[in-house]
Amino acid sequence: MHSRGEWLIWAAVAAILAFLFIPVVIIVVYAFSAAPIPAWPLTGFALHWFADTWNDDEVREALILSLKVAALATCMAVVLGTLAAMAVARMRSVGKEVVSFVVVLPIALPGILTGMALASYFAFWGLNLSYWTIVAGHATFCVVIVYNNVIARLRRLPRSLAEASADLGADAFLTFRRVMLPMMASAIGAGALLAFALSFDEVIVTTFTAGAQNTLPLWIFGAIRLGQKLPEVNVVVFAIILFTAVPVLLAQRLIGDSGRVAR
Protein backbone atom coordinates (compact mmCIF):
# COMPACT_ATOMS: atom_id res chain seq x y z
CA MET A 1 0.00 0.00 0.00
CA HIS A 2 2.90 2.32 0.77
CA SER A 3 3.97 4.28 -2.25
CA ARG A 4 7.60 5.15 -2.89
CA GLY A 5 6.86 8.74 -1.90
CA GLU A 6 5.67 7.64 1.52
CA TRP A 7 8.81 5.61 2.12
CA LEU A 8 10.87 8.66 1.28
CA ILE A 9 8.89 10.74 3.78
CA TRP A 10 9.40 8.14 6.52
CA ALA A 11 13.12 8.03 5.76
CA ALA A 12 13.21 11.82 6.21
CA VAL A 13 11.31 11.48 9.51
CA ALA A 14 13.88 8.96 10.76
CA ALA A 15 16.73 11.27 9.78
CA ILE A 16 15.09 14.23 11.55
CA LEU A 17 14.55 12.18 14.70
CA ALA A 18 18.23 11.23 14.64
CA PHE A 19 19.11 14.92 14.24
CA LEU A 20 16.86 15.81 17.21
CA PHE A 21 18.06 13.08 19.54
CA ILE A 22 21.76 12.42 18.86
CA PRO A 23 22.71 15.56 20.87
CA VAL A 24 20.49 14.40 23.73
CA VAL A 25 22.23 11.01 23.72
CA ILE A 26 25.61 12.77 23.79
CA ILE A 27 24.53 14.70 26.90
CA VAL A 28 23.46 11.50 28.65
CA VAL A 29 26.74 9.74 27.81
CA TYR A 30 28.96 12.66 28.87
CA ALA A 31 27.31 12.85 32.31
CA PHE A 32 29.01 9.55 33.15
CA SER A 33 32.40 10.45 31.72
CA ALA A 34 35.34 10.11 34.09
CA ALA A 35 37.61 12.60 32.35
CA PRO A 36 37.90 16.10 33.86
CA ILE A 37 37.90 17.66 30.38
CA PRO A 38 35.54 16.77 27.53
CA ALA A 39 37.13 14.51 24.93
CA TRP A 40 35.71 11.94 22.58
CA PRO A 41 35.75 8.97 22.66
CA LEU A 42 35.34 8.74 26.43
CA THR A 43 38.22 7.22 28.30
CA GLY A 44 36.30 5.92 31.29
CA PHE A 45 33.06 6.02 33.24
CA ALA A 46 32.52 7.51 36.67
CA LEU A 47 29.68 8.41 39.01
CA HIS A 48 31.58 10.61 41.44
CA TRP A 49 30.86 13.79 39.46
CA PHE A 50 27.22 13.45 40.52
CA ALA A 51 28.20 13.65 44.18
CA ASP A 52 30.66 16.49 43.49
CA THR A 53 27.99 18.48 41.69
CA TRP A 54 25.42 17.91 44.41
CA ASN A 55 27.90 19.14 47.02
CA ASP A 56 28.92 22.24 45.07
CA ASP A 57 27.50 25.26 46.91
CA GLU A 58 27.48 27.42 43.78
CA VAL A 59 25.32 24.90 41.92
CA ARG A 60 23.04 24.48 44.87
CA GLU A 61 22.51 28.22 45.38
CA ALA A 62 21.81 28.67 41.67
CA LEU A 63 19.34 25.79 41.74
CA ILE A 64 17.51 27.23 44.73
CA LEU A 65 17.30 30.68 43.15
CA SER A 66 15.97 29.17 39.90
CA LEU A 67 13.31 27.20 41.78
CA LYS A 68 12.26 30.27 43.79
CA VAL A 69 12.02 32.41 40.66
CA ALA A 70 10.12 29.77 38.68
CA ALA A 71 7.68 29.17 41.55
CA LEU A 72 6.67 32.81 41.98
CA ALA A 73 6.73 33.63 38.26
CA THR A 74 4.48 30.64 37.58
CA CYS A 75 1.97 31.69 40.25
CA MET A 76 1.79 35.20 38.78
CA ALA A 77 1.51 33.85 35.24
CA VAL A 78 -1.35 31.57 36.29
CA VAL A 79 -3.35 34.46 37.74
CA LEU A 80 -2.64 36.91 34.92
CA GLY A 81 -2.94 34.36 32.11
CA THR A 82 -6.20 32.83 33.39
CA LEU A 83 -7.82 36.25 33.89
CA ALA A 84 -6.79 37.41 30.42
CA ALA A 85 -8.02 34.17 28.83
CA MET A 86 -11.40 34.42 30.59
CA ALA A 87 -11.79 38.02 29.46
CA VAL A 88 -10.84 37.29 25.85
CA ALA A 89 -13.14 34.25 25.72
CA ARG A 90 -16.08 36.58 26.56
CA MET A 91 -15.06 39.49 24.37
CA ARG A 92 -16.36 40.00 20.86
CA SER A 93 -14.71 43.25 19.79
CA VAL A 94 -11.31 44.08 18.31
CA GLY A 95 -10.09 44.30 21.91
CA LYS A 96 -9.86 40.54 21.74
CA GLU A 97 -7.21 40.65 19.02
CA VAL A 98 -5.27 43.39 20.78
CA VAL A 99 -5.07 41.42 24.02
CA SER A 100 -3.97 38.17 22.39
CA PHE A 101 -1.37 40.11 20.40
CA VAL A 102 0.09 41.95 23.39
CA VAL A 103 0.20 38.81 25.53
CA VAL A 104 2.23 36.89 22.95
CA LEU A 105 4.70 39.77 22.34
CA PRO A 106 7.19 38.89 25.11
CA ILE A 107 7.96 35.58 23.39
CA ALA A 108 7.28 36.64 19.79
CA LEU A 109 9.79 39.48 20.05
CA PRO A 110 13.50 38.53 20.19
CA GLY A 111 14.73 37.70 23.70
CA ILE A 112 17.47 40.29 23.52
CA LEU A 113 14.82 42.95 22.98
CA THR A 114 12.67 41.93 25.94
CA GLY A 115 15.78 41.70 28.11
CA MET A 116 17.16 45.03 26.93
CA ALA A 117 13.78 46.73 27.32
CA LEU A 118 13.52 45.54 30.93
CA ALA A 119 17.14 46.51 31.63
CA SER A 120 16.60 50.05 30.38
CA TYR A 121 13.26 50.27 32.23
CA PHE A 122 14.85 49.32 35.53
CA ALA A 123 17.75 51.70 34.80
CA PHE A 124 15.19 54.39 33.95
CA TRP A 125 13.69 54.10 37.44
CA GLY A 126 17.08 53.63 39.06
CA LEU A 127 16.05 50.17 40.34
CA ASN A 128 18.74 47.73 41.42
CA LEU A 129 18.54 44.28 39.87
CA SER A 130 17.32 41.67 42.35
CA TYR A 131 15.22 38.54 42.80
CA TRP A 132 12.16 40.68 42.09
CA THR A 133 13.42 41.99 38.75
CA ILE A 134 14.10 38.40 37.59
CA VAL A 135 10.60 37.36 38.64
CA ALA A 136 9.00 40.35 36.90
CA GLY A 137 10.67 39.41 33.60
CA HIS A 138 9.85 35.72 33.86
CA ALA A 139 6.22 36.30 34.85
CA THR A 140 5.79 38.51 31.79
CA PHE A 141 6.86 35.92 29.24
CA CYS A 142 5.20 33.03 31.11
CA VAL A 143 1.72 34.61 30.97
CA VAL A 144 1.24 33.59 27.34
CA ILE A 145 1.89 29.91 28.12
CA VAL A 146 -0.97 29.77 30.64
CA TYR A 147 -3.11 32.03 28.48
CA ASN A 148 -2.75 29.81 25.39
CA ASN A 149 -3.68 26.68 27.27
CA VAL A 150 -6.69 28.19 29.05
CA ILE A 151 -8.07 29.98 25.99
CA ALA A 152 -7.83 26.73 23.98
CA ARG A 153 -9.93 25.03 26.67
CA LEU A 154 -12.47 27.87 26.92
CA ARG A 155 -12.97 27.90 23.15
CA ARG A 156 -14.18 24.31 23.33
CA LEU A 157 -16.58 24.93 26.21
CA PRO A 158 -20.08 26.23 25.53
CA ARG A 159 -20.92 29.54 27.15
CA SER A 160 -24.31 28.14 28.08
CA LEU A 161 -22.73 26.35 31.05
CA ALA A 162 -22.08 29.62 32.85
CA GLU A 163 -25.54 30.84 31.90
CA ALA A 164 -27.15 27.67 33.22
CA SER A 165 -25.29 28.18 36.48
CA ALA A 166 -26.64 31.73 36.72
CA ASP A 167 -30.17 30.54 35.93
CA LEU A 168 -29.90 28.13 38.83
CA GLY A 169 -29.16 31.08 41.10
CA ALA A 170 -25.37 31.05 41.39
CA ASP A 171 -23.63 34.41 41.42
CA ALA A 172 -20.51 35.04 39.31
CA PHE A 173 -18.13 34.03 42.09
CA LEU A 174 -19.90 30.74 42.78
CA THR A 175 -20.06 30.02 39.05
CA PHE A 176 -16.34 30.65 38.79
CA ARG A 177 -15.53 28.36 41.69
CA ARG A 178 -17.94 25.52 40.96
CA VAL A 179 -18.30 25.58 37.16
CA MET A 180 -15.50 27.47 35.40
CA LEU A 181 -12.54 26.55 37.59
CA PRO A 182 -13.11 22.76 37.56
CA MET A 183 -13.43 22.85 33.78
CA MET A 184 -10.29 24.95 33.35
CA ALA A 185 -8.25 23.21 36.05
CA SER A 186 -6.32 20.73 33.92
CA ALA A 187 -5.58 23.39 31.28
CA ILE A 188 -4.31 25.74 34.00
CA GLY A 189 -2.25 22.90 35.44
CA ALA A 190 -0.67 22.13 32.08
CA GLY A 191 0.04 25.81 31.50
CA ALA A 192 1.61 26.11 34.93
CA LEU A 193 3.89 23.13 34.34
CA LEU A 194 5.07 24.50 31.03
CA ALA A 195 5.47 28.02 32.42
CA PHE A 196 7.60 26.58 35.22
CA ALA A 197 9.73 24.70 32.70
CA LEU A 198 10.18 27.83 30.58
CA SER A 199 11.14 30.00 33.55
CA PHE A 200 13.52 27.37 34.92
CA ASP A 201 15.37 27.21 31.60
CA GLU A 202 15.42 30.85 30.48
CA VAL A 203 18.80 32.50 30.04
CA ILE A 204 18.63 35.40 27.56
CA VAL A 205 16.18 37.72 29.31
CA THR A 206 17.51 36.65 32.69
CA THR A 207 21.01 37.91 31.85
CA PHE A 208 19.57 41.42 31.75
CA THR A 209 17.48 41.20 34.91
CA ALA A 210 19.66 39.18 37.29
CA GLY A 211 22.64 41.46 37.92
CA ALA A 212 25.29 39.58 39.87
CA GLN A 213 23.06 36.66 40.87
CA ASN A 214 23.22 33.26 39.22
CA THR A 215 20.19 31.25 38.25
CA LEU A 216 21.01 27.69 37.22
CA PRO A 217 21.07 28.49 33.46
CA LEU A 218 23.27 31.52 34.15
CA TRP A 219 25.66 29.32 36.14
CA ILE A 220 25.80 26.78 33.28
CA PHE A 221 26.37 29.56 30.72
CA GLY A 222 29.19 31.06 32.74
CA ALA A 223 30.86 27.70 33.38
CA ILE A 224 30.78 26.68 29.70
CA ARG A 225 32.06 30.07 28.58
CA LEU A 226 34.96 30.05 31.02
CA GLY A 227 35.62 26.35 30.50
CA GLN A 228 35.41 25.72 34.24
CA LYS A 229 33.80 22.80 36.07
CA LEU A 230 32.79 21.12 32.82
CA PRO A 231 32.22 17.69 34.42
CA GLU A 232 29.70 19.37 36.72
CA VAL A 233 28.10 21.06 33.72
CA ASN A 234 27.72 17.60 32.14
CA VAL A 235 25.88 16.37 35.22
CA VAL A 236 23.68 19.46 35.60
CA VAL A 237 22.49 19.52 31.97
CA PHE A 238 21.81 15.78 32.11
CA ALA A 239 19.73 16.22 35.27
CA ILE A 240 17.82 19.13 33.73
CA ILE A 241 16.97 17.15 30.58
CA LEU A 242 15.78 14.29 32.73
CA PHE A 243 13.61 16.43 34.99
CA THR A 244 12.07 18.68 32.33
CA ALA A 245 10.88 15.68 30.28
CA VAL A 246 8.53 14.73 33.14
CA PRO A 247 6.45 17.96 33.40
CA VAL A 248 6.29 18.27 29.61
CA LEU A 249 4.89 14.79 29.08
CA LEU A 250 2.56 15.32 32.03
CA ALA A 251 1.35 18.60 30.57
CA GLN A 252 0.67 16.91 27.25
CA ARG A 253 -1.52 14.39 29.08
CA LEU A 254 -3.42 17.15 30.87
CA ILE A 255 -4.09 19.03 27.67
CA GLY A 256 -5.30 15.96 25.84
CA ASP A 257 -5.57 17.91 22.63
CA SER A 258 -1.98 17.41 21.59
CA GLY A 259 -1.77 20.13 18.97
CA ARG A 260 -1.92 23.02 21.40
CA VAL A 261 1.34 22.82 23.33
CA ALA A 262 3.15 25.70 21.69
CA ARG A 263 5.05 28.39 23.51
Partner: protein
Protein backbone atom coordinates in the same frame (compact mmCIF):
# COMPACT_ATOMS: atom_id res chain seq x y z
CA UNK B 1 -24.90 40.45 53.79
CA UNK B 2 -21.91 39.15 51.93
CA UNK B 3 -24.06 37.24 49.48
CA UNK B 4 -26.07 40.31 48.60
CA UNK B 5 -23.18 42.41 47.39
CA UNK B 6 -21.87 39.45 45.48
CA UNK B 7 -25.26 38.91 43.89
CA UNK B 8 -25.57 42.59 43.08
CA UNK B 9 -22.13 42.65 41.54
CA UNK B 10 -22.90 39.53 39.50
CA UNK B 11 -26.15 40.98 38.25
CA UNK B 12 -24.33 44.17 37.29
CA UNK B 13 -21.78 42.06 35.42
CA UNK B 14 -24.47 40.21 33.48
CA UNK B 15 -26.12 43.48 32.48
CA UNK B 16 -22.93 45.31 31.64
CA UNK B 17 -20.65 42.91 29.77
CA UNK B 18 -18.02 45.56 29.20
CA UNK B 19 -17.67 46.17 32.93
CA UNK B 20 -17.32 42.46 33.65
CA UNK B 21 -14.68 42.08 30.93
CA UNK B 22 -12.81 45.12 32.25
CA UNK B 23 -12.81 43.64 35.75
CA UNK B 24 -11.27 40.40 34.44
CA UNK B 25 -8.81 42.20 32.23
CA UNK B 26 -7.78 44.85 34.75
CA UNK B 27 -4.88 43.09 36.42
CA UNK B 28 -3.26 41.63 33.26
CA UNK B 29 -3.75 44.97 31.47
CA UNK B 30 -2.04 46.94 34.24
CA UNK B 31 0.84 44.43 34.33
CA UNK B 32 1.47 44.58 30.60
CA UNK B 33 1.01 48.34 30.30
CA UNK B 34 3.04 49.29 33.36
CA UNK B 35 5.81 46.76 32.89
CA UNK B 36 6.18 45.34 29.39
CA UNK B 37 4.89 48.06 27.09
CA UNK B 38 6.37 50.73 29.32
CA UNK B 39 9.71 48.88 29.16
CA UNK B 40 9.63 48.94 25.36
CA UNK B 41 8.86 52.65 25.66
CA UNK B 42 11.80 53.09 28.02
CA UNK B 43 14.02 51.31 25.50
CA UNK B 44 13.00 53.78 22.82
CA UNK B 45 13.62 56.70 25.17
CA UNK B 46 16.98 55.59 26.57
CA UNK B 47 18.23 54.91 23.02
CA UNK B 48 18.51 58.71 22.75
CA UNK B 49 20.35 59.11 26.06
CA UNK B 50 24.11 59.14 26.44
CA UNK B 51 26.64 58.07 29.04
CA UNK B 52 29.15 60.31 30.77
CA UNK B 53 32.55 58.99 29.71
CA UNK B 54 34.21 59.70 33.03
CA UNK B 55 31.62 58.88 35.67
CA UNK B 56 29.66 56.30 33.65
CA UNK B 57 26.41 57.97 34.72
CA UNK B 58 23.41 58.06 32.40
CA UNK B 59 22.73 61.45 30.84
CA UNK B 60 19.05 61.83 29.90
CA UNK B 61 18.39 63.90 26.83
CA UNK B 62 17.76 63.64 23.14
CA UNK B 63 20.90 62.86 21.21
CA UNK B 64 21.38 60.97 17.95
CA UNK B 65 24.99 60.11 18.83
CA UNK B 66 24.27 56.40 19.46
CA UNK B 67 22.57 56.06 16.11
CA UNK B 68 25.33 58.04 14.37
CA UNK B 69 27.90 55.69 15.86
CA UNK B 70 25.89 52.63 14.75
CA UNK B 71 25.45 53.91 11.22
CA UNK B 72 28.98 55.27 10.92
CA UNK B 73 30.91 52.13 11.84
CA UNK B 74 30.63 49.41 9.16
CA UNK B 75 31.19 46.67 11.75
CA UNK B 76 27.65 47.21 13.11
CA UNK B 77 26.23 46.87 9.61
CA UNK B 78 28.13 43.60 9.09
CA UNK B 79 26.85 42.25 12.39
CA UNK B 80 23.26 43.25 11.61
CA UNK B 81 23.40 41.67 8.15
CA UNK B 82 24.94 38.47 9.57
CA UNK B 83 22.23 38.23 12.25
CA UNK B 84 19.34 38.78 9.88
CA UNK B 85 20.82 36.53 7.18
CA UNK B 86 21.37 33.61 9.54
CA UNK B 87 17.91 34.08 11.07
CA UNK B 88 16.42 33.88 7.56
CA UNK B 89 18.55 30.86 6.60
CA UNK B 90 17.51 29.04 9.78
CA UNK B 91 13.84 29.80 9.08
CA UNK B 92 14.04 28.40 5.55
CA UNK B 93 15.97 25.32 6.72
CA UNK B 94 13.44 24.58 9.46
CA UNK B 95 10.52 25.06 7.07
CA UNK B 96 12.03 22.49 4.70
CA UNK B 97 12.88 20.01 7.47
CA UNK B 98 9.50 20.40 9.20
CA UNK B 99 7.41 19.41 6.18
CA UNK B 100 8.06 15.66 5.94
CA UNK B 101 7.83 15.35 9.72
CA UNK B 102 4.61 17.34 10.12
CA UNK B 103 3.01 15.65 7.12
CA UNK B 104 3.92 12.15 8.26
CA UNK B 105 2.74 12.90 11.80
CA UNK B 106 -0.77 14.11 10.97
CA UNK B 107 -1.48 12.44 7.60
CA UNK B 108 0.40 9.14 7.47
CA UNK B 109 0.84 7.98 11.08
CA UNK B 110 -1.82 6.05 13.00
CA UNK B 111 -3.08 7.53 16.29
CA UNK B 112 -0.52 5.67 18.46
CA UNK B 113 2.52 6.55 16.36
CA UNK B 114 1.22 10.07 16.03
CA UNK B 115 1.17 10.53 19.81
CA UNK B 116 4.70 9.14 20.04
CA UNK B 117 5.99 11.48 17.33
CA UNK B 118 4.29 14.43 19.04
CA UNK B 119 5.99 13.58 22.32
CA UNK B 120 9.32 13.25 20.50
CA UNK B 121 8.94 16.80 19.19
CA UNK B 122 7.74 18.25 22.48
CA UNK B 123 10.49 16.89 24.68
CA UNK B 124 13.35 18.62 22.83
CA UNK B 125 11.21 21.77 22.48
CA UNK B 126 10.98 22.15 26.24
CA UNK B 127 14.22 20.53 27.30
CA UNK B 128 17.06 22.77 28.35
CA UNK B 129 18.22 25.20 25.71
CA UNK B 130 21.73 25.42 27.15
CA UNK B 131 22.04 21.64 27.39
CA UNK B 132 21.31 21.34 23.69
CA UNK B 133 23.72 24.10 22.66
CA UNK B 134 26.38 22.52 24.86
CA UNK B 135 25.79 19.14 23.24
CA UNK B 136 26.55 20.65 19.84
CA UNK B 137 29.69 22.23 21.20
CA UNK B 138 30.80 18.74 22.20
CA UNK B 139 29.83 17.35 18.79
CA UNK B 140 31.39 20.04 16.61
CA UNK B 141 34.60 20.66 18.58
CA UNK B 142 37.86 19.82 16.84
CA UNK B 143 38.30 16.59 18.82
CA UNK B 144 34.53 16.08 19.10
CA UNK B 145 32.07 13.42 18.10
CA UNK B 146 31.64 14.55 14.49
CA UNK B 147 35.30 14.39 13.53
CA UNK B 148 35.70 11.11 15.39
CA UNK B 149 32.82 9.66 13.36
CA UNK B 150 34.24 11.06 10.12
CA UNK B 151 37.69 9.61 10.86
CA UNK B 152 36.15 6.24 11.71
CA UNK B 153 34.62 6.27 8.24
CA UNK B 154 38.00 7.15 6.76
CA UNK B 155 37.03 10.73 5.99
CA UNK B 156 39.08 13.84 6.84
CA UNK B 157 38.21 16.28 9.67
CA UNK B 158 35.66 19.03 9.15
CA UNK B 159 36.39 22.42 10.68
CA UNK B 160 32.86 23.64 11.33
CA UNK B 161 33.13 24.17 15.07
CA UNK B 162 33.16 27.87 16.02
CA UNK B 163 31.95 29.18 12.66
CA UNK B 164 28.85 30.63 11.02
CA UNK B 165 28.09 27.12 9.73
CA UNK B 166 28.00 25.86 13.30
CA UNK B 167 25.53 28.60 14.24
CA UNK B 168 23.33 27.75 11.26
CA UNK B 169 23.23 24.05 12.23
CA UNK B 170 22.67 24.66 15.93
CA UNK B 171 19.95 27.29 15.49
CA UNK B 172 18.16 25.10 12.94
CA UNK B 173 18.35 22.26 15.45
CA UNK B 174 17.15 24.34 18.40
CA UNK B 175 14.06 25.83 16.79
CA UNK B 176 12.90 22.98 14.53
CA UNK B 177 10.11 21.87 16.93
CA UNK B 178 8.73 25.44 16.88
CA UNK B 179 8.18 25.05 13.12
CA UNK B 180 6.88 21.46 13.22
CA UNK B 181 4.05 22.11 15.70
CA UNK B 182 2.15 24.98 14.00
CA UNK B 183 2.78 23.41 10.59
CA UNK B 184 1.36 20.07 11.73
CA UNK B 185 -1.69 21.85 13.18
CA UNK B 186 -2.23 23.68 9.88
CA UNK B 187 -1.86 20.54 7.76
CA UNK B 188 -4.31 18.77 10.05
CA UNK B 189 -6.94 21.44 9.47
CA UNK B 190 -7.02 20.87 5.70
CA UNK B 191 -10.22 18.90 5.01
CA UNK B 192 -9.39 15.49 3.45
CA UNK B 193 -12.22 16.06 0.96
CA UNK B 194 -10.16 18.80 -0.67
CA UNK B 195 -7.30 16.39 -1.31
CA UNK B 196 -9.74 13.83 -2.69
CA UNK B 197 -11.27 16.48 -4.93
CA UNK B 198 -7.83 17.41 -6.19
CA UNK B 199 -7.09 13.74 -6.95
CA UNK B 200 -10.48 13.31 -8.62
CA UNK B 201 -9.68 16.26 -10.85
CA UNK B 202 -6.62 14.37 -12.01
CA UNK B 203 -3.91 16.15 -10.00
CA UNK B 204 -1.00 13.89 -9.04
CA UNK B 205 0.68 13.81 -5.62
CA UNK B 206 3.16 16.64 -6.11
CA UNK B 207 0.66 18.88 -7.86
CA UNK B 208 -1.83 18.44 -5.02
CA UNK B 209 0.91 19.31 -2.57
CA UNK B 210 2.00 22.40 -4.46
CA UNK B 211 -1.43 23.75 -5.35
CA UNK B 212 -3.63 22.66 -2.43
CA UNK B 213 -1.68 21.62 0.67
CA UNK B 214 1.15 24.17 0.53
CA UNK B 215 -1.05 27.28 0.17
CA UNK B 216 -3.49 26.09 2.82
CA UNK B 217 -0.72 25.34 5.33
CA UNK B 218 1.05 28.64 4.69
CA UNK B 219 -0.36 30.41 7.80
CA UNK B 220 0.99 27.60 9.99
CA UNK B 221 4.38 27.86 8.33
CA UNK B 222 4.48 31.62 8.87
CA UNK B 223 3.45 31.16 12.50
CA UNK B 224 6.41 28.81 12.94
CA UNK B 225 8.63 31.28 11.10
CA UNK B 226 7.80 33.99 13.65
CA UNK B 227 9.46 31.83 16.29
CA UNK B 228 12.40 30.48 14.30
CA UNK B 229 13.24 33.94 12.98
CA UNK B 230 12.68 35.89 16.19
CA UNK B 231 14.44 33.40 18.46
CA UNK B 232 17.52 33.45 16.23
CA UNK B 233 17.40 37.22 15.85
CA UNK B 234 17.41 37.75 19.60
CA UNK B 235 20.08 35.27 20.64
CA UNK B 236 23.59 35.89 21.91
CA UNK B 237 24.29 32.69 23.83
CA UNK B 238 24.59 30.34 20.85
CA UNK B 239 26.94 32.73 18.97
CA UNK B 240 29.10 32.91 22.09
CA UNK B 241 29.17 29.16 22.70
CA UNK B 242 29.40 27.71 19.18
CA UNK B 243 30.12 30.72 16.96
CA UNK B 244 33.54 31.69 18.15
CA UNK B 245 35.42 34.76 16.93
CA UNK B 246 34.00 36.91 14.16
CA UNK B 247 30.46 35.60 14.54
CA UNK B 248 28.92 38.27 16.76
CA UNK B 249 25.18 38.81 16.59
CA UNK B 250 23.27 42.00 17.38
CA UNK B 251 22.64 40.37 20.75
CA UNK B 252 26.35 40.04 21.49
CA UNK B 253 26.90 43.77 21.01
CA UNK B 254 23.91 44.56 23.20
CA UNK B 255 25.08 42.09 25.84
CA UNK B 256 28.62 43.46 25.87
CA UNK B 257 27.38 47.04 26.17
CA UNK B 258 25.12 46.25 29.10
CA UNK B 259 27.30 43.77 30.94
CA UNK B 260 30.84 44.95 30.27
CA UNK B 261 30.95 48.62 29.33
CA UNK B 262 27.65 49.50 31.02
CA UNK B 263 26.52 51.65 28.10
CA UNK B 264 22.78 50.98 28.28
CA UNK B 265 21.79 53.79 25.87
CA UNK B 266 24.02 52.45 23.10
CA UNK B 267 22.73 48.89 23.64
CA UNK B 268 19.15 50.19 23.58
CA UNK B 269 19.79 52.01 20.30
CA UNK B 270 21.08 48.82 18.67
CA UNK B 271 18.14 46.82 20.05
CA UNK B 272 15.79 49.15 18.17
CA UNK B 273 16.88 47.37 14.96
CA UNK B 274 15.48 43.90 15.82
CA UNK B 275 12.35 45.69 17.08
CA UNK B 276 11.89 47.32 13.68
CA UNK B 277 12.66 44.08 11.80
CA UNK B 278 10.16 42.14 13.91
CA UNK B 279 7.50 44.85 13.49
CA UNK B 280 7.73 44.45 9.70
CA UNK B 281 7.82 40.66 10.02
CA UNK B 282 4.75 40.56 12.29
CA UNK B 283 2.78 42.88 9.98
CA UNK B 284 3.54 40.56 7.04
CA UNK B 285 2.68 37.51 9.14
CA UNK B 286 -0.63 39.06 10.09
CA UNK B 287 -1.46 39.64 6.41
CA UNK B 288 -0.73 35.97 5.72
CA UNK B 289 -3.10 34.88 8.48
CA UNK B 290 -0.41 33.51 10.78
CA UNK B 291 -1.94 34.89 13.97
CA UNK B 292 -4.89 32.54 13.72
CA UNK B 293 -2.42 29.67 13.47
CA UNK B 294 -0.31 30.60 16.52
Amino acid sequence: MKRTWRAALSAFGWRHEGAANAALLGLPAVWFLALYLAAIGALLVTAFWTVDDLSGNLIPGFSFSNFQQLLGDPIYRTIAVRTIFIAAAVTVTDAVLAWPFAYAMVRLAGPKLRAVLMALVLVPLWSSYLARVYAWRLILAHDGVLNWALNALGLPDMQIGYSNWAMWIVFSYLWLPFMILPLAAAVERIPPSLLEASADLGERGMATFRRVILPMALPGMVAGAIFTFSLTLGDFVTPMLVGGKGSDFIGNVVYANVGVTNNIPFAAAYAVLPLGVMAVFLLLARKLGAFDAL
